[in-house]
Amino acid sequence: MTTPARRWADAALTVLCCLWLFPGAAWSEEPWQADFDAICAKTQDAMALSVNELNLLIERCTTLEKVIDTKEESVRKVYLKRVQLCRNLYAYVLEYKKNAPPSP
């Protein structure tokens, strides 16, 4: 018969084993990278986003660019370009949506 304390100990041990086995998943990604993934994950669906959502994404791109600008050269070279691709697409779709005639 297992006690609650024993169950907690087993769970903690499992988590520790997972962290030891997959360290990359736990520590390699910096917060800005998660932010980048979240922002740029919507490019496939940009036309379906609302004006507010697009504005918010563009704002997040600007903030992210400032963070990436502080990173080392290789990161800056790759990720600034990637963020700009996302940002430009959102800005482009936003402009279209703002100028599109209202749907009947």
Partner: protein
């Protein structure tokens, strides 16, 4: 530009003559035909004069050379030959988007300014060529390091080489034999190859690509040709979005979202703008008129 004018005018005639079934039966109209012929003759005469004044005809690349890009930002400083990047080797396995969006390679040669240090940190070529990534049954060779031994130098020469490589040429022709044929470019109809399942392109690199929802299929659409008698263009939006995603073309290459919002001419296309960013350099050449001007003439 002068060579392009020459090409455009003669291919206009070529296409009108061979691709429009009703042309010889008189549907185009004698007046229109005369006008078209006059325009072509003027273009040809003008371009010939410019050409004679100092232009030179560009050498047509061989099938295995088509799409090769010579990259030379820092190679000479490092005392090694430039990189000759073979597009065909990569495009047979990956969509354009993986490299030009997810990895971040620019769309023009030498625009990315790749350094050995970038590769060593796992960016650009080093995203895959890191000595760890397994492709098929073998590990992909590691890209150049910032410093290397005499033995490692041979690895550098896998890409840093301007010499003809018979093994690479043989590999190309062996691959080509399994693919549907095309007259122009490198002789492969890549679109057909994917459609018939001869190619299975990877669109995601673990640790590099962003996880995204499946893209909504974009419908193909037609665009009006500017020359009378020339079949209208069927733009394969579906294929372009699958291979490129949205952000590779919009807004950097095509500014207008609304169909027909971006106005362009064949002269601009041959000058490397719009469709010409890829077509002629890597994708099939624009001299293959019928690939785009494909709408049946009524």
């Amino acid at each position: 530009m002068q060579v392009e004018n020459y090409v455009i005018s003669w291919y206009t005639l070529y296409c009108v003559h061979w691709r429009v079934p009703d042309y010889r039966s008189g549907n185009l109209g004698e007046g229109k035909m005369k006008k078209l012929f006059l325009v072509c003759t003027i273009l040809l005469a003008g371009s010939s004069l410019v050409w004679a004044a100092g232009g030179s005809k560009k050498k047509k690349p061989l099938p295995y050379e088509f799409g090769s890009v010579t990259i030379s930002n820092y190679s000479q400083q490092a005392g090694i030959p430039p990189v000759v990047f073979d597009h065909w080797v990569h495009r047979k396995n990956y969509t354009c988007r993986v490299c030009h969006v997810d990895i971040g390679f620019g769309m023009t040669a030498n625009s990315t300014k790749i350094r050995a240090a970038d590769n060593a940190k796992g960016y650009f070529c080093g995203s895959c060529h890191n000595g760890r990534t397994v492709f098929g049954k073998s590990k992909l060779f590691e890209s150049c390091a910032t410093s290397y031994t005499r033995e490692e130098y041979n690895r550098c020469l896998k890409c840093h080489s301007l010499e003809r490589d018979p093994a690479k040429e043989e590999a190309f022709f062996k691959f080509m034999d399994t693919m549907p044929k095309e007259t122009f470019g490198n002789g492969i109809n890549w679109e057909k190859a994917e459609d018939m399942g001869a190619l299975k392109l990877t669109d995601h690199l673990d640790g590099v690509s962003v996880k995204k929802l499946a893209m909504k299929t974009q419908a193909d659409f037609s665009l009006k040709a500017k020359v009378d008698g020339m079949p209208d263009i069927i733009f394969s939006h579906t294929k372009h979005t699958v291979w490129n995603g949205c952000e590779l073309c919009h807004p950097d290459i095509f500014v207008g979202i609304k169909k027909g919002a971006t106005k362009y001419s064949m002269i601009e296309l041959f000058d490397g703008k719009y469709c010409g960013v890829c077509h002629d350099k890597v994708a099939f050449p624009q001299t293959d008129c019928k690939r785009c001007h494909a709408k049946q003439v009524q």
